[in-house]
């Protein structure tokens, strides 16, 4: 039954993504209205607190608020640093980690509403036969540090400086102010409130303008570039900082064919070229979202695995790979039905 409904891991993941999109955007109708009734207020995915119908809050908003209101303001008041200042932040991180421990970075690849939207647009782009752009091995490294800058500057530093009174209140939660998920998810509830820019405050206007430009760019770029915003998302950085502390992980064994076919790297929506040539800890890259595509598209038995502790949840398999390739190319291009296409390509027989 399950195999009929979800013949591939990709199909199963898509179903999970759709369900989680509904939960993260409209979930208050299911889980409850007040904050106390949310799944969590420290979810490792961009479930926006500004969406009045959501089912959970993203961890980045309490992190910014606690640095701003608790740590920064308390330091100013007490003129010293005390444990009490960081206790709420500690509990937020503890709550975050309780979720993260179970699903690790799969929150990016399976749960995040903005990730799902980008992926759905990408699928549409493949259906429309639009060109697919990829970051090659040389330039992908230039993009990767951006997510860390977003974490350090927008999630940690500016809220703290605002609490200390160094920067204006408009910079109290700067990441939320530029977050494209805030706009996308509130638009999905039929509200244009977050799309409108606040006038009369130059900083708020500028941050809002950046957010709107980012969501506009993301929505169009996603037709041609897989997961464009995920590459610079601070949630990816936040999750990457903890990724070695969860039992859920990607495992790749050394294999003599590795680095030759490169199909797993083509399948990776984050353009992690290392997956094709590295093994062990280096193969589980900081940009990995645990989407599992590399596992699906690896043609060799057991070389790449998704594991939770000692349990192997899914592993590469030649027969599965052949079946998968019948419907879709590694980079996501859909194949025409078997009856209307010529003989299988070389890639299919790799």
């Amino acid at each position: 039954m399950l195999k009929t409904l979800f013949p591939t891991l990709g199909r199963f993941r898509l179903a999970v993504q759709i369900v989680m999109l509904l939960v993260t955007v409209y979930g208050s109708n299911l889980v409850g209205y007040y904050m106390a009734e949310k799944i969590s207020n420290a979810l490792p995915a961009l479930s926006c607190a500004y969406d009045q119908q959501n089912g959970a809050y993203c961890v980045l908003i309490p992190t910014q608020h606690q640095l701003h209101h608790r740590v920064g303001e308390a330091i100013v008041k007490a003129q010293q640093f005390t444990l009490q200042m960081v206790v709420p932040l500690f509990f937020t991180l503890l709550t975050f980690f309780a979720f993260f421990f179970v699903l690790s970075k799969a929150f990016c690849g399976w749960v995040c509403p903005l990730g799902t939207l980008q992926e759905l647009i990408g699928k549409l782009g493949r259906r429309l036969n639009l060109p697919l752009r990829r970051f090659d091995n040389g330039n992908v490294g230039k993009v990767r540090p951006v997510k860390w800058l977003m974490v350090v500057i927008l999630v940690l530093l500016l809220p703290l400086l605002t609490g200390l009174g160094v920067t204006p209140h408009s910079l109290g939660n700067p990441y939320c102010d530029i977050c494209p998920s805030r706009i996308a998810t509130t638009l999905l509830t039929g509200s244009t409130e977050q799309l409108a820019l606040r006038s009369g405050d130059g900083i708020a206007f500028a941050l809002g303008a950046i957010a709107n430009t980012l969501i506009g760019f993301t929505l169009v770029a996603a037709f041609a570039l897989r997961q464009p915003f995920c590459r610079i998302c601070p949630m990816l950085g936040f999750n990457a900082a903890f990724q070695r502390l969860s039992p859920l992980r990607l495992v790749k064994k050394e294999h003599d064919k590795c680095g030759k076919c490169g199909i797993c790297a083509k399948a990776c929506p984050m353009d992690i070229h290392e997956i094709a040539r590295e093994h062990g800890a280096k193969a589980y890259h900081e940009d990995c979202t645990l989407c599992g595509r590399c596992v699906e598209f690896c043609p060799d038995d057991g070389v790449i695995q998704m594991k939770w502790g000692p349990l192997t949840l899914f592993q590469s398999n030649r027969e599965y790979y052949k079946q998968r390739m019948k419907g879709e190319m590694p980079e996501g291009t859909l194949k025409p039905p078997a009856a209307s296409r010529p003989a299988a390509s070389g890639a299919e027989n790799a």
Binding site: Q52, H69, E193, L197, D201, G216, T218
Partner: protein
């Protein structure tokens, strides 16, 4: 026009729009009486929870109903909210917690002139506390009530709100959640209750510090649907916005009166409301920057077959 933009923006994402609390412009509806008065004695505004300015003496000018008003805490002060009484004399505040032991669920805090500090009973028993003040004699019972918010995770206030606390009550259904507020042009429901039973066909008065006076009538289930008036005045020069640069807040009070034999009951609920979602915001600018972002990305859609770029074909 607004609805067209709404639809267009939502259709942009090509997914079903589910309406939230869709804002509507105030309109006169049957059973709704509207009177607008101007007052010039307004001071700053703030929500229950600690953002109001101290010495909000203007309250006596905009309403005669009993109020429990928040007093602004010094910057960085956490852990308690200071509340002050207006138009009512009470020796104690009754403070109801959303969760905890029986002693914690209801406490009495002696009132202090200039502001009574209310603290949560623990750091883990919920965000919303319900606070009331009662003044009574043989002929008349007056109750002021409000909700006050603490940054405490814990129980939702659903049971707290439904719990009977006084003879005559106004029960928000629901309270605005964190990151939300009552707002101009929005409809919110309130349950009117007498001795634990819904009061049907009862008049509920709304008064705002900007001078609006509107009457609403409860339905057969005792629910009065309150449409917050579009009455915010232009910001005074030199005055900032609301809390930490957020939206401005203004005070309102809802009041219901009821006669039972020779006794007259008056109960009021006061809280804060915010400007309409569109006030101080520019949707066209937002759309413009969104379109600008889209424009920046369009070169990616051009079909080129040169070095380093791959086509899906």
């Amino acid at each position: 026009m607004r609805s067209i933009v709404n639809i267009a923006a939502t259709a942009l994402l090509a997914l079903l729009p589910l309406s939230g609390w869709a804002a509507e412009r105030p309109a006169m509806t049957p059973g709704m009486e509207h009177e607008h008065r101007n007052h010039d004695g307004k001071e700053g505004a703030g929500p229950p929870g600690g953002e109001s300015r101290q010495g909000m003496r203007a309250s006596r000018e905009w309403t005669r109903y009993p109020l429990i008003l928040p007093v602004m805490a010094p910057r960085g002060e956490r852990g308690g909210n200071t509340l002050d009484l207006r138009n009512i004399a009470a020796d104690v505040l009754d403070v109801y917690a959303p969760d905890g032991s029986p002693e914690q669920l209801r406490r009495q805090v002696p009132t202090i002139a200039g502001g009574t500090r209310v603290e949560p009973v623990s750091s883990k028993n919920g965000n919303y506390y319900w606070v009331t003040a009662r003044e009574a004699n043989e002929e008349r019972v007056s109750v002021a009530s409000t909700a006050t918010f603490f940054s405490n995770p814990g129980a939702a206030p659903t049971a707290l709100l439904l719990q009977a606390k006084h003879d005559l009550e106004i029960v928000p259904q629901p309270l605005p959640r964190e990151h939300g507020s009552y707002r101009e042009s929005e409809k919110w429901k309130f349950l009117l209750r007498y001795q634990g039973k819904p009061l049907a066909g009862k008049k509920l008065m709304l008064e705002t510090e900007f001078g609006s006076r509107i009457a609403f009538t409860s339905d057969a289930d005792g629910i009065a649907t309150v449409l917050f008036p579009y009455d915010f005045k232009a910001e005074e020069p030199g005055k900032g916005g609301g809390h930490h640069g957020g939206p401005r807040r203004a005070k309102f009070v809802l009041a219901v009166e009821h006669e039972d034999g020779s006794k007259h009951y008056l109960t009021a609920f006061n809280y804060s409301y915010s400007p309409d979602a569109e006030r101080g915001k520019n949707l066209w600018a937002g759309l413009g920057f969104g379109a600008f972002g889209m424009l920046l990305a369009t070169p990616l859609l051009r079909r080129k077959k040169s070095n380093g770029e791959k086509s899906s074909q």
